[in-house]
């Protein structure tokens, strides 16, 4: 019987000839990611009463949620994690100098087609960009993986989103993700795997696929997935941590729902407070004052995102009543952005730059808005209080919309300051980019 990618991967990893949606299977993941929450995870691991990790090489730990540490409590967490890493012989440890966990795993070849990846972070769905089955799990579960190597999954139903056509100028994959969310709502893919396919999906860059699969969790999905192709294989050449075998859905397999999206029919979109599915065309809310613009997070802070931002800001100043906070997704992205002059452009325009990491996305530290302020963010969540102040409001949009909004100080359609996407692409493909950073 034809099977979906997730049914095939989970059957293989659970040692069964086949599995069906709804079935509970137990698997050993190739990668179990955790971040600053490893401090809590290591304490739960200690409670289980096992001395040594089942396999230290499964674990990848990245410090990113509050870097550098904001206070003594965060600093102690980081210290506890460093000691745990040393004691347990965990090789894949990325300290505060690397960037956001999902970006760091992608850059360093940990995300591989056909693999099973877990993360004690809801945005673990991001790794589906590489054709992995990647799902967020809980802290206790990562502690159990540390002790036993095992995790249970309910085999998900799979939903297919078929992408065709081409974006109009000023419309990006973030707008697509927001448009899907507005359509199917925040629970439209609950308990499901979401497969993004179609001619347009295969034209997406690695960065665009990461944005799309990152946003899958905001639709409720267990996993996002883009069928891997040459774009992915090329990217992984020389950096893949292991050998891999891509897995694809069979022709004629059963999808619980299929959705068709024509990219050419989309316009710039924005998620309004306080839910990710409160999505409207930017044109409907344009003109609203914002005090802060944040370009960062695991959704949209890669080199292409910063390129769009810099092209908008070049020879311009941001609005005098608006702050612009830019946080590159990783140190590697920041080095490349410096070489290309983007950081210079952001600072000269009146923006500010902070250490690669999660930054103000979840309000842990720096960039917390004041009461009554509005923030336009390129991140993925606008829940009440998300950025650290329940009396503030957060809007979610693409880096282009964010850049133009920083210049005008009002929510603005990206068409007000167009960028030449082909020129940016050429600039990026001609640039000599930095080698992968590892500690």
């Amino acid at each position: 019987m034809p099977k979906t990618f997730s049914e095939k991967i989970l059957a293989k990893y659970s040692g069964k000839s086949e599995v069906v949606p709804g079935e509970i299977v137990e698997v050993t993941p190739d990668v179990a990611m955790s971040h600053d929450n490893t401090a809590a995870i290591s304490k739960t691991f200690a409670k289980i009463g096992v001395d040594k990790l089942f396999d230290p090489d499964i674990h990848v730990i990245v410090l990113d949620h509050c870097v550098p540490a904001a206070n003594a409590t965060f600093a102690q967490n980081h210290k506890d994690i460093r000691e745990f890493v040393k004691k347990q012989g965990i090789k894949n440890f990325y300290d505060i100098n690397n960037g956001i966990c999902h970006q760091v795993l992608a850059e360093n070849g940990h995300c591989l087609p056909g693999s099973v990846m877990t993360g004690s972070d809801s945005h673990t769905t991001t790794y589906g960009a590489f054709g992995a089955f990647a799902a967020g799990v809980t802290r206790s579960e990562t502690a159990v993986i540390m002790a036993t190597g095992k995790i249970w999954f309910r085999v998900p139903e799979t939903m297919r989103i078929q992408l065709t056509g081409q974006f109009n100028s000023g419309v990006y994959v973030k707008d697509l993700a927001l448009a899907i969310m507005g359509k199917i709502r925040a629970d439209g893919a609950l308990y499901r795997a979401v497969e993004f396919d179609g001619s347009a999906a295969h034209k997406f860059s690695v960065s665009e696929r990461l944005t799309l699969c990152n946003m899958a969790v905001e639709m409720g999905a267990k996993a996002g997935y883009v069928p891997p192709d040459e774009t992915i294989y090329d990217f992984l050449k020389g950096i893949a941590k292991r050998e891999y075998e891509p897995v694809f859905s069979d022709e004629g397999c059963e999808y619980i729902e299929t959705l068709d999206m024509n990219l050419g029919e989309l316009e710039p979109m924005i998620a309004c407070p306080h839910t990710v599915d409160n999505v409207k065309p930017v044109s409907e809310v344009s003109g609203e004052n914002v005090e802060q613009v944040f370009v960062g997070s695991c959704s949209n802070a890669r080199l292409d995102d910063l390129a769009i931002l810099a092209h908008v800001l070049r020879n311009r100043k941001i609005d005098s009543d608006t702050r612009l906070i830019v946080i590159p997704a990783s140190s590697r992205v920041m080095i490349d952005a410096m070489r290309l002059g983007y950081i210079d452009t952001v600072l000269s325009a009146g923006g500010t730059i902070a250490t690669p990491g999660c930054g103000p996305c979840m309000g842990n530290h720096m960039g917390v808005p004041a009461s009554g302020e509005k923030t336009l963010s390129t991140s993925n969540r606008n829940f009440k209080g998300r950025m650290g102040n329940p009396e503030s409001e957060v809007f979610l949009a693409s880096p282009h919309t964010a850049a133009v909004t920083a210049v005008t100080g009002k929510i603005s359609d990206p068409g007000e300051i167009p960028v030449d996407w082909e020129m940016i692409n050429e600039e990026l493909s001609n640039a000599v980019l930095s080698p992968v950073i590892t500690r």
Binding site: I24, I48, F74, S122, G136, V137, T148, M362, K384, G388
Partner: protein
């Protein structure tokens, strides 16, 4: 068990259940005073030990923080009944021993302040204020055992003990 229903809408996210600013703590007694603070700052004052949260679709969406069910349980809620749960919250609740029941009919038939009677073993929910009796969807086979043993850590300890 019997208690009062506190009713909320769809997509109650973990940022309002327990804001990140309190998540440096993992202790129920430190988290509980802030449970649902950004959604309903009267909840902690009004809730009594053994009361219930009744909510719409996708309860617990967003961040994977385990502090969320710990805060709810610590505040005194004995069970969350929802039309559906975000999957990581669902797993977190099983793992830390917060009872949860998925039952859209019970949610539709219950209003704020109603008295409910719940039998966790059978999944039966009865509305004592306005009548109505429903059975919640059972947990998948294999997961029930984790719940019965009081959460994931106890379950794994028992399993590792048995293997030795």
């Amino acid at each position: 068990m019997e208690g009062t229903a506190f009713k909320y809408g769809n997509n109650v996210d973990t940022d309002v259940i327990i804001p990140a600013r309190y998540c440096t703590s993992f202790l129920a007694e430190e988290l509980a005073p802030h449970a649902l603070e950004d959604l309903d700052d009267t909840f902690v004052k009004r809730v009594n030990q053994g009361d219930f949260i009744v909510a719409g679709r996708n309860f617990g969406c967003g961040s994977s923080r385990e502090n969320a069910p710990i805060a709810i349980k610590g505040a005194g809620a004995a069970c969350v009944i929802a039309e559906s749960f975000a999957r990581i919250f669902y797993r977190n609740s099983i793992n830390i021993g917060l009872p949860i029941l998925e039952c859209p009919e019970a949610v539709h038939g219950t209003e704020e302040g109603d008295k409910l009677h719940i039998n966790l073993e059978t999944g039966e929910i009865e509305n004592l204020t306005r009548g109505g009796k429903w059975i919640a969807a059972p947990f998948p086979e294999g997961i029930q055992e984790i719940i019965e043993l009081g959460g994931l850590v106890s379950y794994v300890k028992k399993r590792l003990g048995a293997e030795k």
